[in-house]
Amino acid sequence: MSLELFGTWLAALLTLCIFSFLYKDNPFYKFAEHLFVGVSAGYWLCYNYWNMVKPNLIDNLEAHNWEYLLPLILSAFMLMRLIPKVGWLSRWAIAFMIGSGAGLMIITYLQSNFLEQIKSTLVSLDPTGLPWYVVLNSFLIFVGVVSGLVYFFFSKAHTGVTGGVARVGVVFLMVCFGASFGYTVMARISLLIGRMYFLLHDWLGLV
């Protein structure tokens, strides 16, 4: 049996083990589930080592960039969590991550999630040279964004005009949630089709 054929059989049997959960929880599924957790953990460990630790820490220390001793020390502190007596040292490493992450997020989120979104929403509604439906769509997006934001504004009671605008916001949000749901379901179904195709084509050669 060639290695490729062995790989196909292995993948097919593991796929069937996982699909067996559709009947009920059983030892085959439990086996595949535990194997998946172990293999995933191993994969991400190797991925982190070769893509994060090696290029950012080991290579820099080998090049005598001694300022990288600080993240090395903090990383060691992170592992101190395993020793209860000195576990509190891991807070220093967590504080570094939380602090730099928070500082970075203030800038990036303000730019990408706020200013860029405003910029994309406030487009010209001048119909000159544009098809009518493009202008209408831009207007609808503007109405949807403003009313959606009004719905999320809880410092004022949703009554009167505010309530009416918030109601329009709810309509847009419901359509958005429905569309996101449908999109997610279809993504899962395309994965399912992929697995079925693998079983029927690559493994059994029926299609």
């Binding site: 790989g7 292995l10 993948a11 593991l14 796929t15 699909f19 559709l22 535990h34 194997l35 998946f36 172990g38 293999v39 953990a41 191993g42 991400w44 991925y47 080592y49 994060m52 950012n56 990288y68 993240p71 903090l74 990383s75 060691a76 992170m78 969590r81 509190w88 490493a93 967590i94 504080a95 570094f96 991550m97 602090g99 730099s100 928070a102 970075l104 997020m105 203030i106 800038i107 303000l110 990408s112 979104q117 609808l140 964004v145 999320f152 949000l173 958005c176 429905g178 569309a179 996101s180 749901f181 449908g182 997610t184 379901v185 279809m186 899962r188 399912l192 992929g194 697995r195 693998f198």
Partner: protein
Amino acid sequence: MRREIPLIITFVCGITMIVQFFIPHEPFGSMKSYFQQSYMIIAAFAMILGICNLTKLHVNKIRYKRPHWGYSIVLLAGLAGMTIPGLFVGAIKEGGIFDFLFKNVHVPMQSTMFSLLAFFVASASYRAFRARTLDAALLLVAGFIVMLGRAPIGDAMTSFLPEGGQMSDVANWIMAVPNTAGQRAIMMGAGLGVVATSLRVILGIERSYLGGD
């Protein structure tokens, strides 16, 4: 000091990251990449910590013969089977053991796990989606149109309609207009929320990440 020093570290790191954006000159200019690299290194070690914890948990399960301890052997074998070739034997080169396990064990199991959700989402939505109110009906109809519009049957059902009015066109319009509007409103709200929370963290008002005692 066990709480004060972490708060100082958080404040200094947070302020430095903000300042480097407004003053892109030395020494702040090079600090961004240094902090980002350090962040990645520590985050990688946080993951290593998690894997050490997982190993410890399952080793104890095997040692004390707790219920289903046999599966812990499978988990540890999978972990070792992936880690040893990935770190030591031939690393992660194409055609190696790591590559074989990744292609024939990790990827098939991952996509099968996610594809299982198709069944559970379908059965959950069958029970949850009742068009009792206008809002629920909107959600249901939008989801239904997007699902049909992404499958060939959707266009086949509406083939009598002119181009631009078929199911896939309507689904694309829903994704491009009302969905974009809703997503933007959510993103802007979430963005402001992240900024507010980050400020609270940097200023030491929010301290829950430090844990107890």
